[in-house]
């Protein structure tokens, strides 16, 4: 139904001519809106719609209203490129996407080639969640900006935290067997070796992506290894089922994860009863956020019934608005030149910088653990009564990973 509506909207946009297209600033939101990834894609869409409303309430961009075009890419790179073309045909000069690094790579490549072929009609791509390092290293592009911390920044933050945790002695790595999981595993091995050479890696597992129904065999293996901590990049059901199996076996290790806070994650953790044992690494936390962010958080929760998952989307849209204002232009190239190197206030507090060399945003990172709400904490997750507690804050400067990017500038 939604797809039909979008198709009609696109068709109407084409037939109505350019007059209608000039009235709004269109941002193509290209993420899964059907299939397995839809639950996540819907949350992203709500976030961007909320942000567009905010900008519009303040007068829009140079007097024009922001309009979000929802486009379903089914988490598929080919489909994403088709949808990006659709967005451009409908008059969008800006697109945003987050779910899936393979999709992000395809979009970055598409946008770069499109801009080469169509000088003067450039399109800019804002990435709010795809974390593959390649996007800001050997595959970097002038037309791609990333607000999420890359996989290596997250691992740098995590290992920096582990540096101050002498109780961690034996670490087990378990990851999904695809590019992201394999990359994370490599980063963990390298960084732990550099920062904590005394830590023993007692296991290094890759399991098939989203195909395991019962993780008990894996947990038995982790237990047998004597690990006191587990590092994993698992997400979705692979995270929930793994934690469930661990709780069943009475495993007492600490879990250092990227995505324990994902959709359904808090519900699954609450079920396991593993209080204050599961950590994640993020770029913002509601309970320690500055007052302005907490007000927005309350309002957002009231409106949609979910917490703000993507503080980075707020950074993205606010910096976008600021770049447009500073450039006094809606031309993507002018906006991109203003975004490069921009230092801005981060949604949850502190300052962040968009590095000019590779268009990667650097901001303070937080290590949090999940458990029953502590006194003074306002926000729980998914109605569980449990919430996140910040355990460590890693300053933006301490996650300054190098880049191999040799950017071609227009």
């Amino acid at each position: 139904m939604r797809k039909f509506a979008v198709t009609v909207a696109v068709a109407m946009g084409l037939t109505c001519g350019t007059a209608a297209a000039q009235e709004t600033v269109k941002l193509g939101y290209i993420d899964p809106l059907s299939g397995g990834g839809a639950s996540i894609g819907e949350i992203g869409l709500k976030t961007f719609q909320y942000l567009a409303d905010q900008i519009n309430a303040q007068g829009g961009l140079l007097g024009k209203k922001v309009e979000i075009l929802p486009l379903d890419n089914k988490t598929n790179p080919q489909e994403a490129v088709v949808q990006a073309q659709k967005a451009i045909d409908a008059g969008a000069r800006y697109i945003t996407q987050g779910n899936g690094s393979s999709v992000a790579a395809a979009l970055s490549d598409f946008v770069t080639k499109y801009n080469d072929r169509n000088p003067g009609k450039e399109v800019l791509y804002f990435n709010y969640a795809a974390v593959d390092d390649a996007l800001t290293n050997d595959k970097c592009s002038f037309w791609h900006f990333r607000w999420d911390a890359s996989s290596s920044i997250k691992m740098a933050a995590m290992t920096n935290y582990l540096k101050g945790q002498p109780s961690v002695k034996k670490v087990y790595l378990i990851n999904q067997d695809y590019s992201f999981g394999q990359g994370l595993r490599k980063l963990a091995l390298e960084m732990l070796k550099a920062k904590r050479p005394d830590i023993e890696i007692v296991g290094d597992e890759l399991h098939p992506l989203l195909k395991i129904t019962d993780f008990s065999p894996y947990v038995a293996k982790i237990k047998a290894s004597g690990a006191d901590s587990v590092i994993t990049g698992n997400w979705g059901q692979d995270m929930a089922l793994l934690l469930k199996a661990a709780a069943d076996a009475g495993m007492q290790a600490n879990w250092y994860t990227y995505y324990a806070g994902g959709a359904g994650g808090p519900t699954a953790i609450k079920q396991t009863g593993l209080a204050d044992k599961i950590y994640d690494v993020v770029e913002g936390d509601p309970n320690t956020a500055i007052e302005a962010a907490q007000t927005t958080e309350t309002e957002f929760r009231k409106k949609y019934g979910i917490g703000i998952w993507y503080p980075r989307a707020f950074n993205e849209m606010r910096m976008f608005a600021r770049a447009v204002k500073e450039a006094n232009s809606l031309d993507p190239k002018a906006v991109a030149l203003k975004l490069e190197g921009m230092t801005a206030d981060v949604f949850d507090g502190g300052k962040g910088t968009m590095r000019k060399d590779d268009h990667q945003f650097f901001q303070d990172m937080y290590i949090r653990s999940f458990g029953p709400l502590k006194p003074g904490q306002k926000f729980d997750e998914e109605g569980t009564g449990w919430g996140w507690t910040v355990k460590g804050k890693i300053a933006a400067g301490d996650t300054n990973v190098p880049t191999t990017c040799k950017m071609e500038r227009p």
């Binding site: 397995g36 399991h207 395991i212 129904t213 008990s216 065999p217 038995a220 059901q237 069943d248 609450k270």
Partner: protein
């Protein structure tokens, strides 16, 4: 090491029994009606969601008894008003019908309960540690799952071997046309078998829901492996399905625990010869092993371990 073996065995047997609860219904339906029911795992999912819905209103135990019955009724109705209408167009139409049905059910579940996992919990009366062995705990709920599966197996065996209904079903397994000639209401037997098969899958869902995760993708996760079980076990053979389920459960569980690769077994030459395949430890290819078994069985023993007929 002993700890790993003990728990791998327990986990393997449990996973095997869970597979069997679904495979038993599937193999009966397949051998009687000739329909490879692609939607069978969907009944497992419906069972979990019905169980969840009843559990949060009345309690786990009413759900445990009522949900499988409801799923059985749903299965019977689908057979009566869906499959039976399609039947006259042949097996391909029936196959496609169940194929589509699986997607319809998944989308319905999506619409009613949402895409996120639901909070289906182990009942407090079973939420304790059954025993502790070498510092690893084994939850009572898993023992309960095992007991339920065994009880169901015994019940099925008695029904099939000792009752008149079982006699007709058994006859229909090998001589479906002859049974119809003798004047039995074969369509009704079909509906009943389909309903009971669905109900058993529903029961598996009710008890697996709290232990695993109750979410719309749970059917798609277990679906394919069921076909492996019934082919390896032999079509229409309940004993075969039982042995094959346990076999696959144990193979998968133990493969995960073993970190040996082909390179370790054959020697370093394997790595250069086979490349990535030579270096991958057995644990990494564990999920593929059942399908490898399926292929091998189809080549070398097409009727399966205990099957009695070729098709």
């Amino acid at each position: 090491m002993l700890e790993l073996i003990t728990f791998s065995t327990l986990n393997g047997v449990l996973y095997g029994m869970l597979l069997f609860m679904m495979a038993s219904g599937l193999t009966l339906i397949f051998s009687m009606m000739g329909v490879l029911n692609f939607a069978h795992a969907s009944f497992y999912m419906i069972g979990a969601y019905f169980g969840f819905e009843i559990a949060r209103r009345i309690g786990f135990w009413p759900g445990f008894f009522v949900a499988p019955l409801l799923v059985g009724v749903v299965g019977g109705l689908i057979e009566r008003y869906g499959l039976r209408q399609v039947h006259r167009f042949g097996h391909v139409a029936e196959l496609l019908f169940t194929f589509g049905l699986a997607f319809v059910i998944e989308e319905l579940v999506n619409m009613i309960w949402g895409r996120l996992p639901v909070d289906y919990r182990v009942p407090p009366s079973l939420d304790f540690v059954a025993f502790r062995l070498f510092d690893t705990t084994y939850p009572a709920y898993r023992i309960f799952m095992l007991a339920t599966a065994v009880a169901m197996f015994v019940f099925l065996l008695i029904v099939l071997k000792r009752t008149r209904v079982g006699l007709i079903i058994q006859a229909a397994l090998t001589h479906p046309n002859m049974v119809a000639m003798l004047g039995h209401n074969v369509p009704r037997v079909f509906m009943m078998v389909f309903g009971v098969g669905a109900g058993l899958a529903g029961l598996a869902g009710v008890i697996a829901g709290p232990a695993l995760v109750t979410q719309p993708s749970m059917a798609a996760l277990l679906g394919p492996i069921l076909f492996v079980v019934i082919v390896v076990g032999g079509l229409g053979s309940l004993g075969g399905a039982f042995v094959a389920s346990l076999l696959i459960g144990l193979i998968q569980t133990f493969a995960v625990a073993i970190n040996v690769s082909l390179a370790d077994a054959i020697g370093p030459s394997a790595a250069s010869l086979l490349g990535e395949l030579g270096r991958a430890p057995l644990a990494q290819i564990a999920p593929v092993l059942p399908y490898l078994l399926l292929v091998l069985v189809l080549i070398f023993r097409p009727r399966g371990l205990f099957g009695t007929r070729e098709s």
